[in-house]
């Protein structure tokens, strides 16, 4: 069991490494960040100064190593959009994510697992067929559609103006 967990953990680390490398490699194609930070009439010398200050002139490897080193120490850099450390932004949205994870886990443990066990034992019973039918429909409908219908039917009438992204207002 422990060996299995360690193996999984290693996989996760490898995947994260590759994703970070890819994300880093394609960012040049998303446009020049300086271009988006300054007005059109700002002279090239000012732009160059900013590029230097943000370390955008350094070679790819230097930039990546800097990022990786900080990330390993828990510093995910700074969000220029929100103007605060990226970790704070993530932390702010984390409760909502966790709420969703807990809620769905709860539904799985309380409903899905017992139903699954029952259906496995008595596959031909009417109840099993009923639930398998529902499962097929559930799997077939794209999640974004389910979400929209659910939102329109339950969340919107209660709170049409939305909230902070957390289920608990």
């Amino acid at each position: 069991m422990i060996a299995f967990l360690i193996k999984r953990l290693m996989h996760a680390v490898l995947v994260m490494f590759i994703i970070s490398l890819l994300a880093f490699a394609i960012q040049d194609n998303l446009g020049d960040p300086i271009q988006q930070m300054v007005g059109q009439s700002v002279p090239e010398s000012e732009r160059e100064e900013l590029r230097e200050r943000f370390g955008l002139n350094d070679p790819f490897l230097v930039q990546y190593t800097r990022f990786a080193k900080n990330a390993l120490q828990g510093d995910f850099g700074y969000s220029y959009f929100y103007r605060e450390p990226a970790l704070d932004v993530i932390a702010r949205h984390l409760p909502a994510t966790l709420e969703l994870v807990f809620a769905s886990t709860l539904i799985i443990v309380v409903f899905s697992v017992p139903i699954g066990v029952y259906s496995a034992i008595k596959p031909r019973s009417l109840i099993s067929r009923f639930f398998m039918g529902i499962s097929i429909v559930g799997i077939s409908i794209p999640v974004f559609l389910t979400a929209i219908v659910h939102h329109a039917a339950t969340v919107y009438p209660l709170n049409p103006r939305g909230n902070d992204g957390s289920i608990a207002v």
Binding site: G31, Q35, R83
Partner: protein
């Protein structure tokens, strides 16, 4: 806390929030805005962008501001006079208070000008200003290093900040007045201006809420908006849908394809404004020898049907242009109308020895200007008629600017809006001979160079006699028209829309900064 409790709390919370907020939506003076962008920062000197300038007009007041007809309207400066060639004395409005409660004085103006000169985005515009000095509490003298005729133009960018509020150190020991590009500076999160609105809540990219400033100095205005909720909606279709469904009362940038729909909709009014952004093409003389020949450049201009593009492709949402300056600008020359004559173009090509034509590569953005990619496609087809084969590449903005900076294509599209709302600015950026030292011709893609025109514009820029100066700039426009240093297509219009009763027509302008402090809302269902 157990999950069940959380869930219960959330249901109750959601219900309460929903009902508690519903009545306020119906209240008369609340304006719900759906703009394409929200301000990136609260520090008005950090970024020169449409979003920040619009915000500046909400939370601050400029010394003077533009009217719809490009006249100057006194705001925090009530009078101004040229004392000598390089000095302007301005009298400031009395009894103006900042949001913090501090009194507005000449010291705040001096402080603000000094700060502008430190801002990377504004430093260039305020280069001509040498110093500012407070003579007494309500008089300030602004000195320029050379005679400079556009001081009032740039005074529309001087939104006095509360110097006392922005002076000192934060708890972390940072200077409160510091301008930090995209950083977490004091000024980017804290606000004290003189403007009609104060911010009560703000979440970047989600929503900004304003309330009217109780001690606002302008009590003469009929503006009756007491509360504003600004939601950025960058997607064109969603923005229009939000207005039509009544989720917002006022939107900007109605896309041309939706103009008819919005015009025909009940309870919604469309307001179109003639814009001042010139859209056009530049020919790369470094790469294509033929473009060095004025006859070929004229032929290209003659082959393009500006009227047709404005009429059919833009559906009238643009005014065809034969020069940089739109009507109302100092150098607008009424004689310079768009040319279109394919036969003459062919003759000129033959005269220049290019009867057989040649091949060129063209680049254009596909999400920057209204219908940009389609316009480029139409121009390519028009050029084919004089045997110029165009290999067109269009790309999103993020890739376009780096590509544009490389200057490795033969023809490129660019639009330009003059920060100073003045003719000379177009020349300085788009057609001046490139000079890396001075930054002249920063967006002169084609490396076009006509020293005579440059000299005339430069002289005009230190001519303080407005009449004389206008004459010089009109002449410069005529020379560029003759020499075809830039292919002008049209000035792109602006379109706003608002629900019935929200009287936006008087407060919107070609500058794209609605003066919301003066906005009047007359809803019929008001009690």
């Amino acid at each position: 806390m157990t999950f069940k409790k959380t869930l219960l709390a959330s249901v109750i919370g959601a219900t309460l929030t929903g009902t508690a907020l519903l009545p306020s939506i119906a209240s008369a003076e609340t304006l719900r805005i759906g703009y394409s962008a929200d301000p990136e920062t609260l520090d008005i000197h950090e970024q020169l962008s449409g979003g920040v300038l619009r915000f500046s007009h909400m939370a601050f007041d400029p010394l003077v501001r533009w009217t719809k007809d490009f006249e100057f309207e006194p705001r925090l400066a009530t009078e101004w006079e040229q004392v000598d060639e390089t000095t302007m004395r301005m009298t400031l409005r009395e009894g103006v208070k900042f949001h913090s409660g501090n009194e507005f004085t000449a010291d705040d103006v001096v402080w603000t000008i000094e700060r502008l000169k430190k801002s990377p985005d504004y430093r260039g515009i305020f280069e001509p200003v040498e110093s500012a000095e407070a003579i007494d509490d309500t008089t300030v003298e602004i000195k320029t290093s050379e005679p400079y005729p556009l001081l009032l133009n740039i005074a529309t960018y001087i939104f006095p900040m509360d110097s006392e509020f922005y002076t000192g150190e934060t708890e972390d020991g940072d200077d409160k007045g510091e301008i930090e590009k995209s950083g977490d500076s004091y000024a980017s999160r804290n606000l004290s201006g003189t403007g009609p609105f104060v911010i009560t809540d703000r979440r970047q990219g989600v929503r900004v809420e304003f309330e009217r400033f109780e001690d606002y100095w302008d009590t003469e205005t009929e503006g009756n908006v007491s509360r504003i909720e600004l939601t950025p909606i960058s997607e064109n279709a969603s923005r229009v849908a939000a207005l039509l469904s009544g989720d917002v009362d006022f939107i900007d940038a109605v896309p041309p394809n939706d103009l008819d729909r919005v015009r025909d909709a009940d309870d919604v009014n469309l307001v179109e404004v003639d814009g001042t952004r010139i859209i056009g093409f530049q020919m790369n003389e470094e790469r294509v020898e033929a473009f060095q020949d004025a006859r070929v450049r004229q032929a290209v201009d003659l082959a393009i049907n500006q009227e047709g593009i404005a009429d059919r492709l833009m559906r009238g949402f643009a005014n065809p242009a034969g020069q940089f300056s739109p009507e109302g600008y100092s150098g607008h020359n009424p004689d310079l109308t768009p040319r279109y004559d394919v036969e003459r173009a062919k003759e000129l090509m033959a005269e220049a020895g290019y009867e057989e034509g040649f091949e060129i590569e063209m680049i254009a953005p596909n999400n920057r200007y209204v219908n940009d990619a389609q316009i480029a496609q139409a121009v390519s087809n028009m050029l084919a008629r004089i045997n110029i084969d165009v290999d067109l590449r269009t790309m999103p903005l993020a890739q376009y600017w780096p590509e544009y900076d490389e200057r490795e294509s033969d023809m490129a599209m660019i639009g330009w809006h003059a920060d100073t709302e003045d003719t000379a600015n177009f020349f300085q950026y788009l057609s001046f001979c490139i000079d890396e030292e001075t930054g002249a011709g920063q967006y002169n893609y084609g490396n076009y160079c006509n020293e005579e025109i440059d000299q005339l514009v430069t002289e005009a820029d230190s001519e303080t006699d407005q009449e004389k100066r206008n004459e010089m700039l009109r002449e410069a426009e005529a020379m560029l028209y003759e020499d075809v240093g830039y292919i002008t297509l049209h000035w792109q219009n602006l379109a706003y829309a608002a629900s019935e009763g929200v009287e936006i027509e008087p407060v919107v302008n070609a500058l794209d900064f609605p003066y919301l402090g003066d906005l009047v809302i007359n809803r019929e269902d008001d009690e």
